[in-house]
Amino acid sequence: MNAAPDPAAPPSHPAHRGFSPSRIAAIARNTLTELIRLKVFYFLLLFALLIIGNSAFMLRFSFQEEFQVLKDVSLGAMSIFTSLLAIVATAMLLPKDVEDRTLYTILAKPVPRFEYLAGKLGGVLVLLFIATLLMSVLFVAVLFIREKWVIAEILREAGGTPNEQALEMIANVKKSAFSGALVPGIAIIYLKACLLSALTLFVSTFASSSIFTIIVVVAVYFVGHLQATAREYWLAAGANVSWITKGFLAMVSLIFPDLQMFNLVDDIVAGNDIALGLFLRTSGLGLLYVGVYLLAAHFIFSAKEL
């Protein structure tokens, strides 16, 4: 026999969990919506103009030169746009939430600070993914159209029936245009942007303003591209190098991320294939950076008086 419910008993709620992916997802969703409302995707227009303009400008060059420059410029633009978006969008998150008082509303609820940070970062990472995907689609579309155009021109010159030479040229055009190896290259560009986003979030937990955060991260961006040089010099330094130099190089190597690690796309465009194992190791390092910077952000943010 079932006992009747006790009207005096407090209403039953699901137990509050210390860590909830659904709460993180909710914060990430809100962050993404906020960022989209800021019309951040307008930069895509600039990207489209850049690659279409570049394609039109390169018409007077040979198709090998045209495809080489188109790929270099498009992927370079993709890298700079995703990096800028990652830095600027993330740098605004915490100061904006403090200014709007949204931060206090969220943290007044039983939401752990780590979940708040993870949700914020998650929102930016989704935004970066959408941006990278849209730019990739645009890039592939322009490359595809140009490829078809050049092939049609070759066929027209061959009088409709391609001879052996024309067929070889068509094969060369296809080889110079899109290749599957570009996909891991684009994935690494995205990973670099994720790393920069996590780093920006970490800096913004102790920064006094968005401008300060942006300046610091841009400086780290430049130093990060030289970290590999410092590390190699440090590891190869012999007895004739002073301990001050060694100490400085060691600090640069230990503190700053190696951003050259994620600049593989230049060589991928040049025809290098990246092995799956190497791609996974490089990606793994990128993800490790994101995790560590998020943890570092949590250490500072959890002790911060709000």
Binding site: F61, D72, V73, F222, R231, I255, D266, V269, G271, L288
Partner: protein
């Protein structure tokens, strides 16, 4: 607030100590797979200027190389050969893995600039013009040889070097060697092997080796029995005095009855 700062410093240093050997190993793997091979030294800093060097260091070396390539194209339109040579040096230092840059740079130097030098009346006597022409041939050869050193896994530049040695230096023995190297790559076109045999047949003292290679190609079937191959094989058979019965290419009546 001191404790979290110490915690963060410890975390970053510990992570740094953990990742430095990993990064070093991954960097080595990158280099072995021909990634990150550009040498951005002080010489390049002088050629690129502050902004260009900074851009190249920040992951935009391919874009910087392309901009310089467009500049080199403009220099070509103005026939500024010296400026082109300097630009090609910088471009190939920035992007040593782009075959097109080495190939086109060498072609501009050895074919275009050399002809322009030979026809340049401002250089004076013919001997001086021929010397200038040969210097451009050498520039083209140097570019291709450095290109090969930077791309040891690709056949294309061996083919281009062979063409340069054949057409400009008329060194058929060296050209045969380069064609043979190109042919050794699994993805090289079938004609590389033929070209290697053709050039060997023009190399003094190598008639027997050339004959064997040409005969082996002939025996592969109709697809390989192209006009040049037949004429080179006939020539070798004649030079080596191969008996009529053993000849693959029958002698023409005019040759048998001089």
């Amino acid at each position: 607030m001191i404790r979290p700062i110490i915690a963060v410093l410890v975390l970053l240093l510990a992570f740094g100590a953990l990742r430095v050997p990993i990064e070093h190993a991954v960097s080595r793997e990158h280099r072995e797979a021909y990634f990150r091979g550009a040498q951005l030294g002080l010489g390049l800093r002088e050629q690129l200027g502050q902004v260009g060097f900074l851009a190249a260091l920040s992951g935009f070396r391919s874009v910087v190389a392309d901009m310089l390539w467009i500049k080199a194209h403009t220099a070509w339109e103005r026939t500024e050969w010296g400026r082109m040579a300097a630009l090609f040096e910088t471009i190939t230092s920035l992007q040593p893995r782009v075959i097109m840059f080495w190939d086109m740079a060498a072609w501009h130097m050895a074919w275009n600039a050399s002809v322009a030098a030979l026809n340049d009346q401002r250089l004076g006597r013919e001997a001086l013009r021929v010397r200038a022409q040969r210097q451009y041939f050498e520039l083209g050869r140097d570019l291709l040889e450095r290109g090969i050193r930077n791309n040891p896994d690709r056949w294309t530049l061996h083919d281009r070097l062979a063409m340069l040695l054949r057409d400009k230096f008329e060194d058929h023995c060296a050209a045969a060697g380069q064609y043979a190297r190109a042919a050794a790559f699994a993805d090289a076109p079938a004609y590389e092997k033929r070209f290697a045999a053709y050039e060997l047949s023009r190399c003094p003292g190598q008639e027997r080796a050339a004959y064997e290679k040409l005969a082996a190609l002939f025996d592969l079937g109709k697809k390989e029995q192209l006009p040049t191959l037949l004429s080179r094989l006939a020539e070798m058979e004649k030079v080596l005095g191969i008996p009529e019965a053993d000849r693959r290419v029958p002698q023409r009546p005019s040759e048998s009855n001089p």
